[in-house]
């Protein structure tokens, strides 16, 4: 075996972030399989007499789980039997798009030392702005939709910036003020969609007027649900945030403030201003989620309802966590979650008796838990500890480093 191959295998077997994430996924699939078996009465019955007739329980359970995951695969990535075999992957992309924005909206403030759990309020207020522009303004297609996007982003940024300001000016912890702003935004939304200005007179239920067709995001490919402009915007956002965090002056300040605010302040970086900027960016990104929710593919009514946020503000936290706060990581995590969502719906329809879509939610949660607990994954798979400065492959590092990591293997 060549030396190089050996080194590559060693790298795979070591507890690096990619390996841990992949293995977390494997574990989650196992847990999901167990859930599928537990959800089936017939199978549970068979497991009841497993000691006398083991064949039934094992065979049927295997089929159950395999069918479930195959259906999920067909729904998320590739379906050989469908007329358009790659159709499902579009589905995945459409589902992933808002999660990319939401994940970035958590990742950016996180790098500045802020925990943005106010995505819900930023999304809702962004949606209010975008919807209002959508049904009041009359303008030709590109102008109208761009206006909706810009106003959605501005409204989201306003709420995000307010959270930042409350923290830096008045010392209100961003987690507390975010929770409160979420509640306020939900209340504002409930009130708005019942007012004359917003409520759709043609409907009895609590729903706003729909946005005009000229405010809908133009689609790029496929048909219902089609890939639309927002996916392009998501790719742009990933690139922009990558640039922000690795190449820009603001990103440099942001990371400095996140890592050691005292040192940043001593070096003349305004901690308050930097954190407000981070929250403005986060809010604008959530505003983009709002636009995809209202003017995008997944919305049937293209109008605001009480549940328009669909929990995306919070899913963003898990996406950012899984993506480890890095833009490309966030994009990959969003794709995974999008695939699980898309596949889950197909699985629900294709399996008999039904495997509920909720399995997907559990799957997502389990992945995140395992990723958040890397030591557990390392323990389960008995991975080698990564130790900076030791081992034959590692290059020379100052002794202090090795000592530090020896004392704190967690780091």
């Amino acid at each position: 075996m060549s030396n190089r191959l050996k080194r590559i295998l060693l790298a795979i077997a070591s507890a690096n972030t990619v390996t841990v994430t992949v293995l977390a996924f494997v574990l989650a699939v196992l847990v999901g399989g167990i859930l599928m078996i537990l959800s089936d009465q017939q199978l549970l019955h068979e497991w009841g007499y497993v000691t006398s007739v083991p064949g039934d329980a094992f065979k049927d359970s295997w089929h159950k789980v395999a069918d479930g995951y195959v259906a999920m695969f067909h729904g998320a990535i590739y379906d050989p039997k469908a007329p358009q075999a790659l159709r499902p992957i579009e589905n995945t992309i459409v589902n992933a798009t808002p999660l990319v924005f939401a994940g970035l909206a958590v990742a950016v403030p996180f790098r500045a030392g802020l925990f943005n759990i106010g995505g819900q309020s930023q999304l809702i207020i962004g949606a209010v702005g975008a919807t209002w522009i959508g049904f009041t303004v009359s303008a030709p297609l590109p102008v109208h939709v761009l206006l909706a996007i810009v106003v959605g982003m501005l409204c989201g940024a306003l709420v995000g910036g307010l959270t930042g300001l409350l923290k830096t000016r008045f010392g209100a912890h961003e987690v507390i003020s975010s929770i409160m702003l979420n509640n306020i935004a939900l209340g504002v939304l409930a009130w708005l969609i019942s007012t004359k200005a917003f409520h759709d007179p043609k409907r009895q239920d609590a729903i706003s007027k729909p946005v005009k067709d000229s405010a809908l995001l133009p689609h790029i490919h496929g048909s219902s649900p089609e890939v639309n402009l927002s996916t392009l915007l998501a790719i742009l956002a990933v690139v922009a945030v990558w640039w922000l965090l690795s190449r820009s002056t603001l990103g440099f300040r942001l990371k400095a403030v996140g890592s050691n605010p005292d040192a940043a302040n001593t070096a003349g970086i305004s901690v308050a201003r930097t954190q407000v900027y981070a929250m403005l960016i986060a809010g604008a990104l959530m505003g983009l989620v709002a636009v995809t929710q209202i003017s995008g593919t997944l919305s049937a009514s293209h109008a605001m309802t009480q549940t328009l946020d669909n929990g995306i503000g919070f899913t963003g936290i898990t996406v950012a966590l899984l993506g480890r706060g890095k833009p490309v990581g966030v994009a990959l995590a969003a794709l995974l979650f999008g695939a699980l969502n898309a596949g889950g719906r197909v699985m629900e329809a294709a399996t008999q008796p039904t495997v509920p879509h909720d399995v997907v939610t559990v799957l997502q949660a389990v992945i995140v838990i395992f990723v958040a607990a890397p030591l557990l994954v390392k323990e389960i798979f008995r991975l080698r500890e990564v130790r900076r400065g030791s081992g034959p492959a590692a290059s020379s590092v100052a002794p202090a480093t090795a000592v530090d990591s020896a004392i704190e293997p967690v780091a």
Binding site: T249, A264, V397, A400, V403
Partner: protein, 548 residues
């Protein structure tokens, strides 16, 4: 207990941190391990304490070879260690901290019972070795020196026969250092051995029985405590080191920094700097001496824009008070903050990034929008070479550097700005003799280039070596401005609040003779301490301030 290390070798990658080190610690001796930052002292002690396993070599305790797989084994063998950074829970009381992880009290559901036993144990140990602590005090309320004492008691309660102190004085005030030495001598008298790791020459000579010098991972020799600092320094660094800063007398220029009626409050809202006035001339080093906690920190923070203040401080006519740190930096401040970990460095950032922390977004490192990564990397590589920062490359994260090398990064950042005013607090804290010589030389270069330099240090030797004038602060006031030739005794008296109230009158010298020093006074900062003790009323006050 007789402890022997035989042929200990440990390599990290291609770096040999320890190569074939032999060391013998006799019972009842204070054995000093002297070496530069990164010489391999801490690695050796981490091996001895079971935190690292050696590649080869053996540890022999009382003639029996032992293998330490974890600190637990080392503790069982009677070895105790006090780390540079304390392993205490701040919100727990002293007694609770000492119960923590102690085998005897494990599993006790009735925690009040444990606590009572712990209190008794603490008091017993503390009385036996003369280590006064209040078992009920919360650790976070204790001064650093007392926290260290708690760590020592922790080791003693686990029946340590050999106590390793890893750079224990790095975080201590001169008074606390002297107290620690007393404790060390007490331990020695009780038959314990102490391994004392340091790079401060005066301390070695004051307290050690035997000295082993380590350089670049190998034992280069041993010395007697009677050796001169210069001999020790030469052994340690491997070349002749000039301990005296060479500087030509220089006529100071115009007033560059004019401070008038400056008053600053501390974190708790009490006055820390009280109506302070002084002038700092171009081409002059003004050293601020004083026991820590007499307003030096707040004075520097006010001048650098980090803390709001009353009064005025004008740099070439530009008001600094009330400006943001950014604005003060833009006026040309070069600032070496007192605490590099807390205020100096971003641990996740590379050395190169830390070097431009105060210049990001400014030419040549980029503009308001983007960074010039090439320029930042190039600058990093250059400073790395210029300041002899020991790291693999400028892309190494600052957190991976040893303390002395971190300090070099912070100093390099302040100096590369070509500052119009250099303010350096504890500029050589934690750096070894070789690096200290270099940093001192660079500071004098600033002065010779006609720049005003303000130095704040608790190391009297440093102050006297660098300064053209020495201002002594006591309780937020300058109690005297004296020339650098002033004896340590006289300075010590001023630091303890004695002498004339010379605030606001630059160049005024106290004209009375200082109190004669009763006993033999060790060199350096300890002199100040013994003077402070011999003076009656002011001494009490000074120790009070120090404890705050």
């Amino acid at each position: 207990m007789r402890l022997e290390l035989r042929g200990i070798t440990k390599t990290f990658g291609s770096v040999a941190a320890n190569s074939a080190i032999d060391l013998t610690v006799e019972p009842g001796e204070i054995h000093c391990l002297l070496g530069e930052n990164g010489a391999g002292k801490s690695t050796l002690m981490n091996i001895l304490y079971g935190l690292l396993t050696p590649d080869s070599g053996e540890i022999v305790v009382d003639g029996e070879a032992r293998e330490f797989k974890s600190p637990r084994d080392a503790i069982a063998a009677g070895i105790g260690m006090v780390h540079q950074h304390f392993m205490l829970v701040p919100v727990f009381s002293v007694a609770e901290n000492l119960v923590l992880g102690n085998e005897e009290s494990r599993g006790g559901l009735l925690s009040w019972l444990d606590r009572r036993k712990a209190r008794a144990d603490v008091l017993a140990v503390s009385a036996r070795y003369g280590l006064p602590v209040d078992p009920d005090a919360l650790v976070e309320d204790l001064p650093v020196g007392v926290q260290q004492r708690v760590e020592i008691i922790k080791a003693l309660m686990r029946d340590a026969q050999v106590l390793i102190l890893d750079e224990p004085t790095a975080v201590l005030t001169p008074q606390e250092t002297e107290e620690l030495f007393t404790v060390m001598r007490g331990l020695k008298a009780a038959g314990k051995s102490v391994v004392f790791i340091t790079h401060k020459l005066n301390e070695v000579r004051a307290v050690a029985d035997r000295i082993t010098v380590i350089r670049r991972g190998a034992v280069v020799g041993s010395a007697e405590p009677t050796a001169t600092p210069r001999e020790l320094a030469a052994l340690m660094v491997g070349r002749d080191v000039r301990l005296v800063v060479e500087k030509e007398p220089r006529e100071p220029g115009e007033v560059a920094l004019r401070v008038r009626g400056l008053s600053v409050l501390d974190d708790r809202g009490f006055p820390a700097v009280d109506d302070l006035s002084f002038d700092l001339h171009a081409g002059e080093v003004l050293g601020i001496a004083g026991v820590q906690g007499n307003g030096q920190t707040e004075l520097v923070e006010a001048i650098t824009g980090l803390r709001p203040a009353q009064g005025s401080a004008e740099l070439h006519g530009q008001q600094l008070i009330g400006s943001s740190p950014h604005k003060v930096l833009a006026l040309g401040l070069g600032h070496v903050p007192e605490d590099r970990q807390h205020d100096g460095l971003v641990p996740d950032f590379s050395i190169a990034e830390n070097l431009v922390l105060d210049a990001a977004g400014q030419a040549p490192f980029g503009n308001a929008l983007t960074l010039d990564l090439d320029a930042i990397a190039k600058n990093g590589a250059e400073r790395l070479a210029e300041f002899d920062i020991r790291a693999e490359s400028a892309q190494t994260p600052a957190a991976a550097l040893s303390g002395g090398n971190q300090q070099k990064v912070v100093v390099a950042r302040a100096l590369q700005r070509d500052p119009a005013l250099l303010v350096a607090s504890q500029p050589t804290r934690g750096v070894d003799v070789g690096a200290m010589e270099f940093i001192h030389k660079r500071i004098i270069e600033q002065r010779d280039a006609g720049k005003p330099v303000l130095i704040v240090s608790t190391e009297l030797d440093e102050i006297t070596a660098l300064s053209d004038r020495i201002a002594v602060m006591y309780r937020g006031k300058i109690v005297g401005i004296v020339p650098p030739g002033t004896s340590n005794e006289e300075l010590g008296l001023l630091m303890a609040g004695g002498g004339h109230d010379a605030a606001g009158e630059p160049d005024t010298q106290p004209d009375t003779e200082p109190e004669p020093v009763p006993k033999e006074a060790p060199a350096g900062e300890s002199a100040a301490e013994s003077v402070a003790e011999s003076a009656e009323a002011p001494a009490e006050e000074s120790s009070e301030t120090a404890d705050e």
